[in-house]
Symmetry: D3
Subunit: 286 residues, 6 copies
């Protein structure tokens, strides 16, 4: 169960409206690695943890904080849209800024949301749960979380460079710091599980049931052998259970497949029509 306080976790007030930047900022609200994604990813992982304890609590702590980040970004975007101009094409003749706004803002910020934020990314794709993951395996999921915080912090840093507004930059510097914290925190949780379970997810599948002869191999499927230089191509494997090896010219292990014809109720091309036939007549003699 949740409670809401009306105060914001941190300031979300720009120096001045900027509807073009409002469109861009949507990316970290409703994009693939926006705050809606991490909020629902962590909450679903938390609700699905089988067993309680510190991992579940960690997920609920950070997941609940992310709702506050959604709130901050929604507030910031609404303020960037304050009094967004009611722009027409003919006004653009006179004023290049108007021209830029006309092209650069998201028309749905006027037509659909009435100068409010939207659960969408910077080009208008609506948020979708395709973005999130909760598998039940904590090591797998913490890796998903470390990835999300890495992609997310990268995007916020890029956005930081795309504005001169001190108010916006102030809020982004908060979010960047929180992503630093969360990267460190998921990293700590990952290291702890890796030290217990070793690094390959899932750790409980019996090793003898996998094809061990290719479990540490790099197949060189792309011309050139630059990849042979890497740590991943020789020496002990990272899980300490094998030795990396490099196959310069990978070969196929199985013959080309041949699928039998489909039964009649499938109405495929009839088998007789797939047999070799005489060529078509030349088009100019038909």
């Amino acid at each position: 169960m949740f409670y809401h306080v009306k105060d914001l976790q941190y300031h979300a007030k720009p120096d001045r409206p900027d509807p073009v930047y409002a469109k861009k900022l949507q990316e970290v609200l409703g994009g693939q690695f926006g705050e809606i994604s991490v909020m629902l990813q962590y909450l679903f992982q938390g609700w699905n943890v089988r067993g309680n304890g510190k991992y579940k609590d960690l997920l609920m702590d950070i997941g609940t904080e992310e709702i506050a980040h959604v709130e901050m970004l929604a507030t910031m975007i609404a303020r960037l849209l304050d009094n967004a101009p009611d722009v027409e094409l003919e006004d653009a003749v006179k004023d290049p800024v108007v021209a830029a706004v006309l092209g650069g803002m998201n028309p749905q910020h006027v037509i659909v949301s009435g100068l409010g934020s939207m659960p969408a990314d910077s080009v208008g794709n609506r948020w979708t749960a395709d973005y999130i993951i909760a598998s039940g395996n904590l090591l797998a999921d913490f890796r998903a979380n470390l990835n999300a915080e890495s992609q997310g912090r990268l995007q916020v840093c890029r956005l930081y460079e795309m504005t001169n507004d001190r108010g916006v930059k102030d809020m982004l510097s908060w979010l960047i710091a929180r992503d630093t914290a969360h990267q460190n925190q998921w990293y700590a949780a990952i290291r702890e599980l890796e030290e217990k379970e070793n690094i390959v997810v899932p750790s409980t599948f019996p090793r003898e049931l996998e094809k061990q002869q290719v479990a540490y191999t790099l197949f060189n499927f792309s011309q050139g052998d630059a990849s042979a230089e890497g740590r991943w191509a020789h020496g002990p494997s990272m899980d300490g259970c094998g030795t990396f090896n490099y196959v310069d010219r990978p070969v196929a292990f199985a013959p080309a497949p041949h699928l039998p014809p489909a039964p009649p109720y499938i109405f495929d091309t009839p088998a007789w029509a797939m047999r070799k036939s005489d060529d078509l007549p030349d088009p100019d003699t038909k």
Copy 2:
């Protein structure tokens, strides 16, 4: 540029058809962490690498191998669908297996693909590029890859337990081993970059521009303090640049926001109508 050889990387032949399992196996072909996802994720990352060398080559090596895995799964699913029964409801009276097949197979495997595999997951959601990521930052993207191989191997292991077919299990044990290899390989690449760049992505954003006072803090937003036990809550941070701290009762740093009314052309609820008004009359006296 790519070349195709008709032989398969590994065998993809079930002992016998099983249309219900064919539906389930679609998950690792066309689901969020299926082979189409890793294939296109690695190829796009490879094509977008700015700078050549071993990382780009590694991405192209593994990306190209994944096309072969798509091919193996497509072949396996088509064979699991060989002569799938043309089932009607009234047949189910007599035969519980027929009843199971009737409910358990994907009707599109007959109606749409004609006993072929589909670029879709185990419930029929079509594959979407929402699943993949290529940010240009290699450490971020290798974390996405390690996550994908972790989720993917987990799903294949679960599928391994859901069948007794030796041919299917044989192929899955190949894919599980390859995922072991790829987890180790992305792990090696990550460690190498982390040792050069430290662990927080992106590493080049100036630390003094983020709110350092909250860069290593865990806010306890979920009742109870089980999360305080974790390594993430005290001691040196994982990046070695700070000290984890735990805030038991987090407070808000900014006041509740107040948004000004929208301009008239937005046609919102008029300001006067949002003022406090007398209550509605009781329904039974109206």
Copy 3:
């Protein structure tokens, strides 16, 4: 900013596992009118309200409660999936219940979420922000909310009839009651605004700018005049500003459009090729 307490708003404990019902129950968690939809719809409306006061508070009150409902359903579904069977086709020969489970459960509940709930509906479509609306106009949005609570309560009532599990029914009777409350509450808010603004949204668009001659007309575009019996076809209009009228044989007000050819860089069918031509030769004389 939000806080989480670990206790549930209400009990979410089934008498026994039922993976087939777990699939169905996903509808009111992650479907079009599931709890994720109302949670994010009310929160976004609340964050976007321009002006504070009781309406904004009402939105935040109910929106925050809905997060707790997501939590209850996530918990219930995980429990319905406890120890879901690891079913194979050959087991179905012996046991019709196994056959039913095989066909009736969502395979992603095993493969993807590991016996956890998912942000998806009862057929596996992932939740999407296409489902929600926040326009900034409160009367419009409260109507969206009343609609959501109506569709949602309807779906929960249908689900109530589809199980005999007393634990499930107990939780659903809570959700049904809360939907009763929310329908009454949005209804009260709507009535209040309608009494201030009249019923047509938006109320501030000048009436003289719309084509008043058709502002209260029902055009009989479907054969038969049963619709003429309705209150909507005669008498004073509901907004009290006009009189309903019924046009039995509606006519067109404008001529058929003719679009000029596209410029050459569009590469359309050339104009000369769209002119009338001689017929094709008969196929058997070609």
Copy 4:
């Protein structure tokens, strides 16, 4: 069965082309509350009505009219795109209008549709049936319809203010009037059913089966009690069957849930690895 007449229901002719406005106008053709949505929503509701009579006829009347509105908007957009300029970046140096067009128009209006309208919204999201609803319960569905006409009219009014083109404004004033009519008409239908059935949907679920103690309660989950001022918080409920009440400090009714571990074939984090462990070593002493 349907017949088409080539004349338009109303004029759809702009004074002059305006490809930037064409992009915006797509919102009410192919957006969430565009004409495609109402057309298919009303037709599906009509086809699914169980029982004939005036309600079904009303749905078919208005649904059929909406196809004509799709046609008008498609025509208008094609005309706004007449001879849309073939713009290149270097032309923008000389002419700010060109710059505005370059940024502001939808490139798919050239590349994909060849200066025709598209079944998409103002940012290019394709129309999806996620937008529509037909539940079979008429009161629920008429509320969906009143909502759709409210959101739709709001969007058209906003678009009316975003152009000076008299031809466009003339057509929009037709659509605005029709939305006035349809809001009044669905409102009349709703009132009629509410007077018969009372206001809570569905009306036939036995009241004694819901938790009556919370059926008229507002839980104050958001800090501050502004929401207590509302009509929804005290007095007789709108359905006349209860009394609104306000719970200032809502409490949880059920304990925190504890989920048992998953069975081995799920390959979750092993139970022993979730137990409390010693902390990780400090990073600088490893």
Copy 5:
């Protein structure tokens, strides 16, 4: 503008309810090549035709007929769902038909649509405008239409074999015949345009601006030369403007690309970190 008559174009009455078949039949209502797709594809093509005449009229004739097919399928599905059973898992113990229904029907047919049809396919994916095409070039679009009628008739034929219900088969035999007619009609329109314009779309792009040396080449990118047997590999090209040729061992025409580093505000992996480095230490000596 459109008119609706309440009579159906053809009978849509099954002999008896069959909720499992209702789910399957959704494919040709709301799937990729279902009736909603052809209806909206032809209407949008018709509305976008630049120039009037017989082609536009043909599109509007068939497009309008397809609305009637949507209506027939919606009616048929509703009837197949008449009194669909309210099935619970425990009933499946006793009755394999119940078990089959439990697994095989679409739960949304009860929960969401209340025994009505849905704008969705046979696995529940909602219809999307991603399925349709209207490019403005008639030859291109008629090919899209011929394809749609080919895929559509194929699916209906497969569905015909999946039921013994005479009423269903009777309706499907109508739809199959109409698809025969439409395939013939689009074929005739295509042949007419091909005879005027030749076969390559678009016909107006100047041939000298394309790389003519590869305009009739088949590159043998897949091992083995079975494709060399085909008509497409030798002899005059089908457009009569060139000669097919076959390149057994295709080579690359351009060197491997090298992308320069991104500017600093992109926050990519820094260039120095992408240089070759010493290997990681072995895991067991770290």
Copy 6:
């Protein structure tokens, strides 16, 4: 199994960066008829062919070439984005080109992909497998392929006219030529199958099972008889098996449907409430 060579099939190097054009060019990389679509469409068709031989080989040849086209476009887009400006609104005051870039480029090219290409179209919709088709019936699928190459070449020709960059035009002239080749090749394959099977797909459904009386009829559902002029309305049908005929005033063949009420557990509007009732009271007398 596949191999990659690092050289490109053809040059993909623009004269200079142009981030606005980069956005547009995405259409033919990740749009409905972009290279990802044809690549996966042909590969899936190839993998699903039941029977080997020249058709399967042709599909694999062209499908494998298309991966190289994805690679070329990805490379070209990355180069068009080289050093894309870090643009802010205030810079637009001074420079209309900056204003154009600000509005015209895709913000995700900076924020998400870091100056790399994306698997998305020119407005940012992510690629989806909704775009592709593989039915198992070769004639149907080759028609899908001819359509894809027609729409695709049309889009590339339009893009050719939208730039003056010689490097871009050089690459597009390669792609245009390849589409010419592929249109000719699929055309040849289609003609070969049509000569064997006749033109109606599928060819194996027994003709006596379809309603032959309407198998060659054009119903004139759109007012006016321009469509009667066409070859499709009279004379022998294109399949040579019937005679086209034209029905000027189509009639309905079946009565209006009447659906029985739903069972109680559906909670529809109760039957008694759907009966005719007295009108509502006038609003001003209530």
